[in-house]
């Protein structure tokens, strides 16, 4: 049974990698700025998912016994189950910061794309003067 679980986890990791590939293809080849914007958000979300998947710990046993401190613990022995089943908290803290900074960059990028359209009249990057086709 545990090799089925390893197989399914490998499928999840490989689909994240496939998302990275498809999003990079979208950033490089599509000429519209808004399509690049959408593909950029998908790319950065997949990279953050990798960081969280690295901190995962597989606990042998049934899933409902998760690492939650439901009440204020009174002695160190009550915390042993928490230490034995909890996942790595450090990648989650770093991904939190990464999501917020990504949001800040996307808001600014949306403002810039609107001004680009006001100036050039189009959102394509290859038909303006100085672009790859103009």
């Amino acid at each position: 049974m545990s090799d089925y679980i390893s197989l399914m986890f490998t499928v999840v990791i490989l689909s994240l990698v496939a998302n990275i590939g498809i999003a990079l293809y979208g950033i490089f080849t599509k000429p519209s700025l808004i399509k690049k914007f959408i593909a950029l958000t998908i790319f950065s979300d997949s990279i953050n998912s990798f960081a969280i998947a690295i901190g995962f710990r597989r606990v042998a046993g049934s899933y409902p016994s998760v690492a939650v401190l439901a009440d204020v613990p009174g002695s160190p022995e009550e915390l042993q189950h928490f230490y034995a089943t909890s996942v790595d908290p450090l990648p989650q803290a770093l991904v939190l910061t990464a999501i917020v900074i990504g949001l800040a960059v996307y808001m600014f990028l949306a403002g810039l794309i609107t001004l680009y359209y006001k100036h050039y009249g189009t959102t394509r990057v290859d038909v303006v003067r100085g672009g790859s086709r103009g």
Binding site: I5, S6, F9, T10, I13, L14, V17, A18, I20, G21, L24, Y25, F28, T29, I54, G55, F56, R57, R58, V59, A60, L69, V72, P73, P76, L79, F82, Y83, S86, V87, D88, P89, L90, Q92, A93, L96, T97, V100, I101, L103, A104, V105, M107, F108, A110, G111, L112, T114, L115, K118
Partner: protein, 270 residues
């Protein structure tokens, strides 16, 4: 262009295959391991540890303790980066004024009535996630973005005209954002000031008792753990986030007349 696109697609596919090969054969460690790293074990043991008080942060939630106590400087500068981005978006359209009477009517009465029911529910849920950040999963940014989604919903269902007539303006939102940031700054310096007044050694961003400093923020409120500075950080951060994201949405949603006025005012400099 077919050859160029084919080259890009095949190189991206090659990168994806190599990455999958490395992960599959355990280059980054075994997939879904059974143990965690020693650094993670030490953070878990330090998060709530009243028996070894000089390393603990007395909060029941390990991720919030890492975000605001052990790596508090990272989060402080992340909030500053969000602030700089908001200022940048507002500076792209510098000179704009909120105009009233541009004729927005919002959506139909059915949508407006059902949104009126949702407003207190989402506000309470967001505030609860922000205030309980040191006990349950949540925190300042999570609660703040819940309430920011509510503001976006209100701006779409009732129009922006209705909001501007009720007294919402960019200056008030920027003032609330700055007040949140000043609150975070004062909380981080609180123990330093108290130590300077009392003549005792203290650190910046200090939360609990440390090895060379005896001061500590309050640890308990009635019978529940209050994580010291974590509670205050979460409250101020949620205030800052809700006003900052609403301000950005208003600037990005300016109507055509306001944008023309802003760009006409700006071109005087060129």
């Amino acid at each position: 262009m077919r050859a160029r696109e084919l080259a890009i697609a095949s190189s991206v596919a090659l990168m994806v295959l190599l990455l999958a090969y490395v992960i599959e054969l355990g280059g980054l460690g075994p997939l879904a391991p059974h143990t965690i790293r020693d650094l993670a074990k030490s953070y878990l043991e330090y998060a709530y540890n009243p028996w070894n008080a000089t390393v603990s942060s007395m909060a029941l939630e390990a991720v919030t303790a890492i975000v605001w106590d052990y790596r508090g400087l990272d989060t402080y500068f992340e909030t500053s980066v969000l602030f700089v981005a908001i200022i940048g978006v507002a500076a792209l359209y510098r000179g704009y004024r909120e105009m009233r009477g541009l004729g927005g009517a919002g959506l139909s009465e059915i949508v407006k009535t059902s949104t009126r029911v949702l407003v207190p529910l989402i506000l309470v849920a967001g505030a609860s996630i922000a205030i309980h950040g040191h006990l349950t999963p949540g925190g300042g940014f999570q609660g703040g973005s819940f309430m920011a989604v509510l503001m976006v919903l209100l701006a779409v269902v009732f129009s922006l005209d209705y909001a501007f007539e009720r007294g919402l303006s960019s200056r008030k939102l920027l003032a609330i954002r700055s007040a949140g940031l000043i609150g975070i700054l004062l909380t981080s310096l609180a123990l330093l000031v108290a130590g300077a007044v009392a003549g005792v050694y203290a650190y910046v961003f200090q939360n609990m008792v440390r090895e060379s400093s005896e001061l500590s923020m309050p640890r308990w409120i009635f019978d529940r753990p209050l994580g010291g500075t974590l509670f205050f950080f979460n409250v101020f951060e949620s205030l800052a986030v809700v006003s900052g994201l609403t301000l950005t949405f208003i600037v990005l949603a300016l109507r055509r007349e306001e944008v023309d006025h802003a760009l006409a005012a700006g071109e005087w400099y060129e």
